[in-house]
């Protein structure tokens, strides 16, 4: 089977304005300075914001999108001709709703006669096509928090089937009132501002902004590469906003991905859990991992990244993959921030000390509203 390599990537998030700055900031965050790091965030909200200033929401959205894509293209060292061959996938939950919020605010305050700035999200694809000069029409995929993870899975399969040569997958999730207030009304947001998924004391999730890009290719461009070895997507029909408490779908998705990769748990360096911090999602996923460990009669380390980034919704696929790959390039996988006590009937604890390594095989798990479960196995073990 043809290998599919990550040849370029970028990450703009609360940690920094590129992936190098982000990993340096992340390395300095510990349990005892977490509150100080977090206090520098969104105007009184519990929120992880990108620390750049823009004139308006439109400028913010399109500047960050362009910067993220440009950084990834430089990272992949693609020529202008090679960029034209990129098939574009865009994943997001809230897309450019922040731009329409700003416009409708003007409209309802009688400061504009225009109700909306944009109708539909297809024009975002046109913007990205123009930046890179791609010959191909962009595909925008919305599967909630698995949007970029599913985009990566599709792009990988299309490359393997020789349908496309290379792909650019970009996720963007920016602060908007609709999403924030929506999560607030669902009573899913943390009040105390200490993000602690999988902890018994977790009081909810904290949203975050990110714009992150991954470039996939059938040809590796340097020695320092990661490859996507297997993917799996499964559907949980339990509830539109919650996972089945049994964890069955998540367990099956992880098991199927391991089977496709011809790996067992002992081959993994860790599982990167979705770990949102909401009680239903925490318990369901913890149960799924617990069941997997019992089934294989083996364990592996469980890594949680959202306390570094916030929950970046549809972008968490690309954002968390880039962040963990950068940690691995730095020689370790990070311990779980803010974790103190686990659930009574769950046998494992997430990683409590940094784990030193240079090569890793990681199972990334993502779960979204609407029942989507996506698993990707990514490795730099050659």
């Amino acid at each position: 089977m043809k290998q599919v390599y990550i040849t370029g990537s970028s990450l703009i998030c609360a940690l920094g304005n590129d992936k190098f700055q982000s990993i340096q900031t992340a390395k300095q965050i510990h349990n005892n300075n977490y509150k100080n790091f977090f206090q520098d965030n969104h105007d009184g909200f519990n929120f992880f914001k990108i620390k750049q200033v823009f004139k308006n929401e439109k400028e913010k959205f399109y500047t960050l999108l362009e910067n993220s894509i440009s950084q990834a293209i430089i990272d992949a060292n693609l020529s202008k001709e090679e960029q034209k061959e990129l098939h574009i996938f865009i994943g997001s939950t809230s897309m450019s709703i922040s731009i329409n919020e700003e416009q409708s605010q003007l409209y309802y305050n009688n400061q504009s006669t225009k109700m909306l700035s944009e109708v539909g999200y297809g024009n975002i694809g046109g913007f990205v096509e123009n930046i890179i000069g791609s010959k191909y029409k962009a595909t925008i995929l919305q599967t909630a928090c698995t949007s970029t993870a599913n985009s990566l899975a599709y792009a990988k399969e299309l490359i393997q089937a020789n349908k496309i040569k290379r792909a650019l997958i970009v996720g963007i999730e920016l602060f908007n009132k609709s999403t924030y207030k929506g999560f607030e009304s669902l009573m899913l947001l943390s009040k105390d501002g200490i993000y602690k998924p999988f902890d018994k004391q977790s009081d909810g999730l904290i949203l975050g902004e990110a714009c992150s890009t991954i470039i996939l290719d059938s040809v590796q461009n340097n020695e320092d590469y990661f490859a996507i070895t297997a993917t799996n997507t499964s559907f949980d029909n339990y509830s539109i906003t919650g996972s089945n408490p049994t964890g069955e779908t998540t367990y099956q998705s992880m098991k199927e991905a391991l089977k496709k990769a011809k790996l067992t748990l002992k081959d993994l360096s860790c599982i990167k859990a979705h770990a949102t911090g909401s009680e239903n999602s925490n318990l369901s996923e913890a149960k799924a991992i617990d069941t997997l460990f019992k089934e294989y009669n083996e364990t592996t380390d469980v890594v949680i990244l959202k306390p570094f980034l916030g929950h970046t919704l549809g972008t968490c696929g690309t954002a968390e993959i880039v962040l963990l790959c950068e940690f691995i390039k730095e020689g370790f996988i990070p311990k779980t921030l803010n974790y103190q006590n686990g659930y009574e009937d769950i046998a494992f604890e997430p990683l409590l000390e940094n784990k030193i390594l240079n090569n890793a095989t990681v199972l990334f798990q993502f779960i979204g509203f609407g029942g989507s479960n996506t698993t990707l196995i990514i490795s730099n073990k050659g």
């Binding site: 919305q142 609407g370 029942g371």
Partner: protein
């Protein structure tokens, strides 16, 4: 791969209540606080698979150019006021992908579902992904939908969308059931292909024969530059909605023989759908 069922309906801006009345006629299930967009989608999907012996593992691909606009406008109005609360169902309704969950609930399916948009060719992209998934044996069956609301209530709407003939905008819900099985098949899907220029497209058109031809609105504008037999172009429904190409293919499938549909986007990238009956 075969098209085993289709459904298409357009309405002149029905209310959510009117769609719920239609829904009641095809299902006993209750869908409370569901938006107009989602109700239109569930109705179309149920009508398409009505009395069909479908695989519960089928994937659902919902395409839309504009998405859940009525509900989005409602939420935008709420958040424009400082103290207004966004109700949970209003928030869930503006998340486009939730439509897939609701359809799977209506149909009792357990396959994956995806919400896809791609300026001017959202339905074409959704069909392309479903065709790919079946062709690599990931799934055996797919349900592909094209759903868009009428946007006539938005001032100067045609300055924001690609309604290039300034047609009246309708509600539209159009669905296709694809299967590897040819039981009660309406047509065989022979080719689904995309091209990046008119030159590439014309090279392909020089190699293919067909009995009936359908063109989307951009392709119609370019018909003098396409290597096509103009006499074979079929007449189409004049209603317009965001993902209207699905309706055009639905009409094309009423004809016999070798059937070709061509969609172009604004910069002449092409999507070809070739069926035989």
């Amino acid at each position: 791969m075969y098209i085993c069922a289709t459904f298409n309906a357009t309405f002149k801006n029905n209310t959510t209540k009117e769609y719920k009345q239609l829904l009641k006629k095809v299902t006993d299930k209750q869908f409370r606080r569901v938006s107009k967009f989602n109700t239109m989608a569930i109705y179309g999907a149920l009508m398409c698979l009505h009395n069909k012996n479908y695989d519960t593992n089928l994937n659902i691909y919902t395409a839309s150019e504009y998405g859940c606009m009525e509900e989005l406008n409602k939420v935008l109005m709420q958040v424009s006021k400082e103290d207004e609360i966004v109700m949970p169902f209003d928030f869930l309704n503006i998340n486009g992908n939730n439509v897939g969950f609701l359809i799977s609930e209506a149909l009792d399916t357990i396959g994956n579902n995806f919400y896809i948009t791609a300026e001017d060719v959202s339905f074409e992209k959704a069909f392309e992904l479903a065709y790919f998934d079946i062709s690599i044996d990931k799934i055996n069956e797919a349900l592909i939908g094209a759903v868009d609301e009428s946007l006539d209530y938005i001032e100067n709407i045609n300055s924001m969308i690609k309604n290039i003939d300034n047609k009246e905008i309708y509600d539209g819900t159009s669905w296709f059931y694809l299967s590897k099985k040819n039981t009660n098949a309406l047509a065989k899907v022979q080719i689904v292909e995309s091209f990046t220029s008119l030159e590439e497209l014309n090279s392909f058109l020089d190699t293919i024969t067909y009995d009936n031809l359908s063109l989307n609105l951009f392709a119609k504008k370019q018909k003098e530059n396409l290597h096509i037999d103009h006499k074979k172009i079929i007449s189409q429904n004049q209603d317009f909605f965001g993902t209207y190409s699905a309706m055009y293919i639905h009409t094309l499938l009423n004809y016999n023989g070798k059937l070709l549909h061509i969609s172009l986007d604004e910069v002449n990238r092409a999507y070809i759908f070739f069926f035989t009956k």
